[in-house]
Symmetry: C2
Subunit: 350 residues, 2 copies
């Protein structure tokens, strides 16, 4: 199989973790006789430094000409505490999501027995936890009208949703649920928000087309509790953009290590794969970051190419490093391996 992969290294630890994934993908290509061709684009603080623009048009072009995108991480603290900054790294990612219509962010929440000692939760809390969050990614308050009054004394963010926006991500989530435990939970705030009531109405309608899927509805404040209190109750969680940002990050603590979690952002054409961790600037360039989030994102990319056996080979190699203690500093502060070393071990194992 021949595939074009756009690579955006991004900010902070983005470049060093993504380099490991490329090694891993090359090992997969070798072993299974595929050819992956990489083209590089820039985005985020990196792109602002180089061009003044968090997402140059060439990067969008590069992505559109590819079959999938592998992305590192975004963000730099120098922009975070300056509420008046006109250009910010995150604008690049938001613009890319919109430009490529990556309307569904998919985050599996898995737990690793080898990491249970790192989890903030008791072991019994984690039994049977295996769910997946579908977050709408191109609508809602992220992309609504924004205003700051001229005298800077008032601000507005508008949250909007259309039926069509809700439908496309919902169909995707229902289809996933059909291939899993056949349960879907819509998370909203329908007792307060008009957009949430639209979500609930549209999902109630769509549910009729998926009669084998059991649907329930949960307010976001309750969901924030249930994810910790009883995470095993969930199978597919579907929610809007802002709630999804919060809920999926919260869910990520269950695993015991944020550094391990992958995500996919899919649309109608090209899809993007990235670890859920941030750019973690304090660790950048130190070769201590955990590359597994990126490498498992590469596994999701292989799944997206319908290369199930290849994806399984990557996951098996990752499990092997965990089982043998070939782990980074975030997982074992005493005996640990560098980012590069872990990438090499997985590459060789494959």
């Amino acid at each position: 199989m021949e595939k074009k992969i756009a690579v955006i290294l991004g900010d902070g630890i983005g470049p060093e973790v993504t380099q490991q994934s490329i090694k891993v993908l090359n090992a997969i290509a070798d072993r299974f006789g595929h050819s992956f061709e990489y083209s590089y684009g820039i985005m985020g603080a990196d792109a602002i430094d180089k061009t003044g623009n968090p997402l140059p048009d060439e990067t969008i072009d590069t992505c559109l000409k590819s079959d999938a995108i592998l992305f590192g991480a975004i963000g730099h603290p120098k922009y975070d505490n300056d509420p008046t900054a006109k250009v910010r790294p995150e604008q690049g990612l938001l613009k890319l999501r919109k430009a490529l219509q990556l309307y569904a962010n998919i985050r599996p929440v898995t737990t690793y027995r080898a990491l249970q000692h790192l989890s903030p939760l008791k072991a019994k809390q984690m039994e049977g936890v295996d769910f997946i969050v579908f977050r709408e990614l191109t609508g809602g308050i992220y992309f609504g009208k924004k205003e700051l009054s001229e005298d800077q004394s008032a601000a507005v963010d508008e949250c909007t949703y259309t039926k069509a926006e809700i439908e496309r991500v919902s169909h995707l989530a229902f289809k996933y649920a059909q291939g899993r435990k056949k349960k879907l939970t819509l998370v909203d705030k329908a007792n307060v928000l008009e957009t949430s009531r639209l979500w609930r109405k549209v999902v109630q309608e769509i549910a009729k087309e998926y009669t084998d899927v059991a649907v329930d509805y949960m307010f976001v404040d309750n969901a924030a509790m249930q994810i910790i209190l009883n995470p095993a109750q969930f199978d597919v969680v579907l929610t809007e953009n802002m709630f999804g940002d919060i809920i999926s990050d919260e869910a990520s603590v269950l695993s015991g290590s944020l550094g391990l979690l992958p995500s996919a952002s899919v649309g109608n054409t090209v899809a993007l794969f990235e670890p859920i961790h941030g750019s973690y600037p304090q660790a950048a360039g130190k070769d201590i970051a955990n590359p597994l989030g990126s490498i498992l994102s590469a596994a999701m990319l292989l799944d997206h190419f319908q290369l199930a056996e290849e994806a399984a080979a990557v996951r098996e190699a990752v499990d092997w490093t965990l089982a043998n203690g070939f782990v980074s500093k975030d997982i074992d502060p005493v005996n640990n391996y560098t980012t590069t070393a872990i990438g090499d071990l997985i590459t060789e194992h494959i």
Copy 2:
């Protein structure tokens, strides 16, 4: 001291838990020589059933004529899954918050050693946890313009904040921080939202007036992780309405029992006190609900009256029931006491 207390029993288990608080307040009045006069108002599903209106004007009047409000709980499932319902219980509570300008919702997050076995978190996670969430309660997306297009294919919720709205709750939070561990964390999404950038700017300015308070800024998605990963880092958490709803409910799981947590909603004049748990309709009328959330809310009410010794007496009595296993079914499914029995025990102890 003579005080007028408005009582809103509300929905579900609201009435039965609030009745226990009234007994407790009467015991306090007896012991310390105060006089509390109660007047009753209706709100929520209860008020809809009786009048068609989730918050009749008489209830607002009753509240305005009082020194404080003791409230039970709101909500009924028959409204939740009907996205087209025109009248909903929650509208009553939202309207009351607005009418009385209860702009700050204050929720202490405490942990009880006696309940550690019930907490989803490991014991070491909970060491030193003692923080308080300040949630802005009368602005933001809760009260912004709401629209559903005529063909019902699109919906809008507007989130707005003014500098003045941010200032008043922020000053309150900074003052609390001064009396505590002198740390304040603003939770926002300043990398995406204009309103969050306004929050950050205003809080940065106000911080200059409270030089003894250390301030930090955290994105809400990160906060959703940190509350579980490292809750001991927080002292005072300040945030806007919608984020506060999610974050404070999430934080409530730390204690091991939602049924124990109180809250205060304060404004410039009258203040309202309510347990954070919901109306829990499945348990209504069964005399099994945990009355401690309501009783500890009554303790906050006494604090609000500057009756510190009296408030301490209530908390001491609550601790005594916990230490002696006089607990409700949610805390001990095998050996437990009824709502009424726990109320009586606390009343007698005082």
